[in-house]
């Protein structure tokens, strides 16, 4: 879908990754330059190394073709979901439903459509967790170790969450062993060494390269909070190693259960963010996302039902589901409790996406149970399937209409790119524009950019110190992007005055969506 908007990477990270891949392919080596604007992504070379290898072998363009591989990654992500679904239900229908959820659920689709490190991370981490779950086979354990080590070079958040999931699996397994009197210290040590202890090499690497993410997490108060949440969740999941007892006469699925609290709280948070802007300085929930809540509610109902079924029966996926829920929930709680600022919002919404595989399993279980319960009532089954697909399709605007749903634009149009390229040809050293174009200009073209032009125009401040500016006509309608803050709408009068007072060197685009490159004239 993003390819219908623009052939360029969907999401600004794609430009940084493309630039790094291009440099690796050109130079033949990978290096970290702390002075480089892309140094953060250079420190996480997993995606770039893989893509540069593909580019070198296939003779592809690092930037022009990177968006083309995203559908491949998105389709590959169905495989672990299918495996989970079949493992959970013992039926291919379960695998089909789980895979369908993964491929169509809007939030997950957004991530696998964007050129980002997480796109590969979301493909690798479920495999790593599944291999760790079946670690009795030494080969699977070894492969999970390899994947966990690789994740550290790919994306720190994915690494942290995957390590959290493996830790939860170790806790559950050892709790069961203690309860059965089969605790073995060597086995425990091996589990820890091949699971949670892999955080040590990751930490060592991140410390060596001075990764900013690590500093935020290991700040004294943040670490204390994180450890507190880990202790609490460990205490909470320890009893989940065994199925929940079902009193005689009770059904497997009941509409009123404690499990309903979690999606209820989630919806309250989303609604609260719409009303009051929970996260200071960040954009609130957009109305388009609120319109999707009924569809999300339907999917949540499936997930709650599946959760109750999974917890009240013996099965092969209880540990997997608990582990895949516990780690992202821990990080979401961390994001909410560390202080409601834009960085917390980032942690929360990024962590929520890692719940999707667990949801896929639970939804698959609930769907199969419902399918079976409907027996030979084929019209009802058709309605069930159609309703499920419709609910999923209703969430797809999250992937292809991000301005309306999240208040952020991920598309870089060819004309915007041309404008940025033109500035490079001018030898521009200092350019001011909005946040999105400033990031693209810095990440791909490497010149110094500033993202404060919309604020300065709104507040009538001086633009001294900048050579050029890029302005978009849509700043007067939908507003200029200054993520994570809400868009700034510039008045037409101010915008036209700005254009009139400076020298336009380039103009392109259809009426209503034009772009100008402006050479700033110093005030007399």
């Amino acid at each position: 879908m993003p390819l219908t908007f623009s052939p360029l990477p969907f999401g600004i990270d794609g430009f940084a990754l493309g630039r790094i891949s291009s440099d690796i392919a050109a130079r033949g080596d990978w290096r970290i330059d702390p002075a480089n604007l892309n140094s953060y992504n250079q420190k996480l070379p997993g995606f770039s190394l893989l893509w540069s290898a593909v580019v070198s072998v296939g003779g592809l363009s690092p930037l022009a073709h990177v968006q083309l591989i995203m559908p491949l990654l998105a389709s590959l992500s169905v495989i672990p979901a299918y495996l989970f679904g079949v493992k959970a239900t013992g039926r291919r229908l379960g695998g089909f439903v789980a895979g369908l959820f993964i491929v169509l659920f809007g939030s997950f689709l957004l991530l696998t459509s964007s050129v980002s490190k997480e796109a590969i991370g979301l493909l690798i981490f479920p495999v790593a967790v599944l291999l760790f779950l079946e670690r009795r086979d030494g080969r699977k354990r070894a492969l999970s170790v390899v994947l966990l080590l690789f994740l550290a070079f790919l994306h720190p958040l994915t690494t942290l969450l995957t390590l959290g999931m493996t830790s939860a699996l170790v806790v559950l397994a050892q709790r069961r062993a203690i309860a059965r009197g089969r605790f073995s210290l060597p086995s425990f040590v091996l589990d820890v060494a091949t699971g949670p202890a892999l955080a040590i090499p990751a930490w060592a690497y991140y410390s060596a390269v001075d990764l900013p993410f690590l500093a935020d997490l290991l700040a004294a108060d943040a670490l204390g909070l994180f450890l507190g949440i880990v202790v609490l969740l460990t205490a909470l999941i320890v009893p989940m190693g065994r199925p929940a007892r079902l009193r005689i006469g009770r059904r497997f699925v009941s509409p009123v259960a404690r499990g309903i609290l979690v999606p209820a709280i989630g919806i309250l948070v989303v609604l609260g963010n719409a009303r009051n802007g929970l996260f200071a300085g960040a954009v609130g929930t957009q109305s388009a996302l609120l319109q999707m809540l009924p569809a999300i509610g339907v999917l949540a109902a499936f997930a709650v039902a599946g959760y109750q079924l999974a917890r009240r029966t013996t099965n092969r996926i209880n540990d997997l589901v608990v582990a895949m829920l516990a780690a992202p929930v821990a990080l979401v709680l961390f994001g909410l409790l560390r202080g409601l600022d834009p960085e917390s919002l980032l942690i929360v919404y990024r962590s929520v996406d890692f719940l999707d595989y667990a949801f896929a399993i639970l939804i698959g279980v609930a769907f199969v149970a419902t399918w079976r319960w409907l027996g030979r009532w084929w019209p009802a089954k058709a309605v069930l399937l159609a309703g499920f697909v419709a609910a999923l399709l209703a969430t797809t605007p999250m992937a292809w209409n991000t301005p309306a749903v999240f208040g952020v634009d991920n598309v870089t149009s060819p004309q915007e790119f041309r404008a940025l390229a033109l500035l490079e040809s001018f030898g521009a050293r200092n350019v001011t524009t909005d946040q999105r174009l400033a990031d693209v200009g810095a990440m791909w073209f490497g010149y110094a950019t500033d993202s404060s032009l919309p604020v300065k125009l709104r507040d009538n401040e001086s633009l001294g110190g900048f050579q050029y500016a890029i302005a978009l006509e849509r700043w007067t309608t939908v507003g200029a992007q200054v993520h994570p803050a809400p868009n700034i709408v510039i008045s037409t009068v101010v915008f036209e005055k700005f254009l009139a007072e400076n020298r336009i060197v380039y103009s392109a685009g259809p009426s209503g969506d034009r772009i100008w490159v402006v050479q700033l004239v110093s005030p007399v």
């Binding site: 204390g224 202790v231 609490l232 409601l340």
Partner: protein, 365 residues
């Protein structure tokens, strides 16, 4: 029999889990309360430091007018500063008797003091505000001479001269300025010492310590907030200690109940041949393990609860400056109290029960 003791000690039933949760909630309150109290001081203190302070004014004690810094020691103070002598006095002028404050300023540069104004040894320079007050109250222009009562002495016919040519923004406009020599001549004991030192930059801490100086915060809001937080914090710490005592009692009560409820179990172990020491060991170990588990869980709950309070308060209209830091002292205190209370609670009843079972040979009631 250490290994069987450990196995028995780590056997958790529904009752023991409830006891652990009780200990956890008690520790949660202690750790949470101390965490919030510390965070209050941290946050407000760090913001106050960043906002900065006014000019560096030093006094002895906490009241400038009661301060007495040895003027002979000022020649050893490096850098540029102004020595301020200030005393309440009575001024008779224009047929009025006013309570005023007489101030003498002496500028020091590299240990050498100079006096800028007033010029004459007996001159009294009235600042513009004081002049305006005199003219408003008397209805006549300010006279050229007046009487000053200071240190119990009465000086008559002192020349009243023009206001000072410059005045620091720090000072009001209603002071009467004299030369330091006049104050010293009137009373060397009271007029000799300096009340305050006004420096452009903070003085060397060694000098501050040697002269036993304290800094007077001239930006009152900073001092107000710091002082207020210090008061609140001391109250909160007292509250935390009270909570600590309550926790100790709670843990003791919970563990005692636990042991009493298992009297039958104790009797069974005794009848199987376990010595009183072994029986007591089982319950001691369990008490310690339970208390440790409860304290760890409670500390985690307290940390999370404190963060939740601080994080969600702004949404409820309470943007705040509480900056939490790892509550290590609170966690250590919670653990120590829980362990001590639990060990005591496990020791006394279980020994008594074990001894009873041995002497009477029946199940204790």
């Amino acid at each position: 029999m250490p290994r069987p003791i450990l196995r028995l000690a780590t056997r958790f039933t529904r009752r023991t889990r409830a006891t652990a949760w009780a200990i956890a909630f008690a520790c949660m309150v202690l750790v949470g309360a101390m965490s919030l109290a510390d965070g209050l001081a941290n946050g407000v203190g760090s913001v106050a430091n960043r906002i900065g302070t006014g000019p560096a004014v030093y006094i002895q004690g906490n009241e400038l007018l009661a301060s007495a810094i040895d003027s002979a020691a000022l020649s050893n103070v490096p850098g540029d500063f102004v020595a301020i002598r200030a005393h309440p006095a009575g001024l008779e002028i224009n047929r009025l008797t006013l309570s005023v404050f007489v101030v003498a300023l002496e500028s020091y540069q590299d240990g050498v003091g100079t006096i800028a104004f007033p010029a004459g040894p007996r001159n009294v320079s009235l600042d513009v505000g004081l002049r305006a007050q005199i003219e408003a109250e008397s209805g006549t222009p300010v006279a050229t001479s007046g009487n000053v009562s200071l240190f119990g002495l009465h000086l008559a016919d002192l020349p009243i001269v023009a206001p000072p040519p410059t005045r620091s923004e720090l000072f009001p406009d209603n002071w009467a300025y004299v030369r330091p020599d006049l104050l010293i001549a009137m009373n060397a004991t009271q007029g000799g010492p300096v009340q305050a030192i006004l420096a452009a930059a903070p003085l060397d801490p060694a000098v501050v310590a040697s002269l036993r100086l304290t800094r007077l915060e001239t930006l009152g809001a900073i001092g107000f907030v710091r002082g207020s937080i210090a008061e609140v914090q001391s109250s909160l710490m007292l509250l935390a200690l009270v909570i600590a005592v309550v926790i100790g009692l709670l843990v003791y009560a919970a563990m005692s109940l636990e042991v009493h409820a298992r009297a039958r179990e104790i009797a069974t172990l005794r009848s199987l041949g376990a010595s009183p020491a072994a029986v007591a060991g089982v319950y001691e170990a369990q008490a310690a393990v339970l208390a440790l588990a409860g304290a760890i869980l409670g500390s985690a709950l307290g940390i999370v609860a404190a963060h939740a309070v601080v994080s969600f308060a702004p949404i409820l209209g309470l943007p705040n400056l509480v900056i939490l830091s790892p509550p290590t002292p609170a966690v250590v205190l919670a653990m120590v109290i829980s362990e001590v209370a639990a060990v005591l609670a496990g020791l006394v009843p279980s020994r008594r029960a074990a001894v009873l079972a041995r002497t009477k040979g029946v199940v204790p009631s």
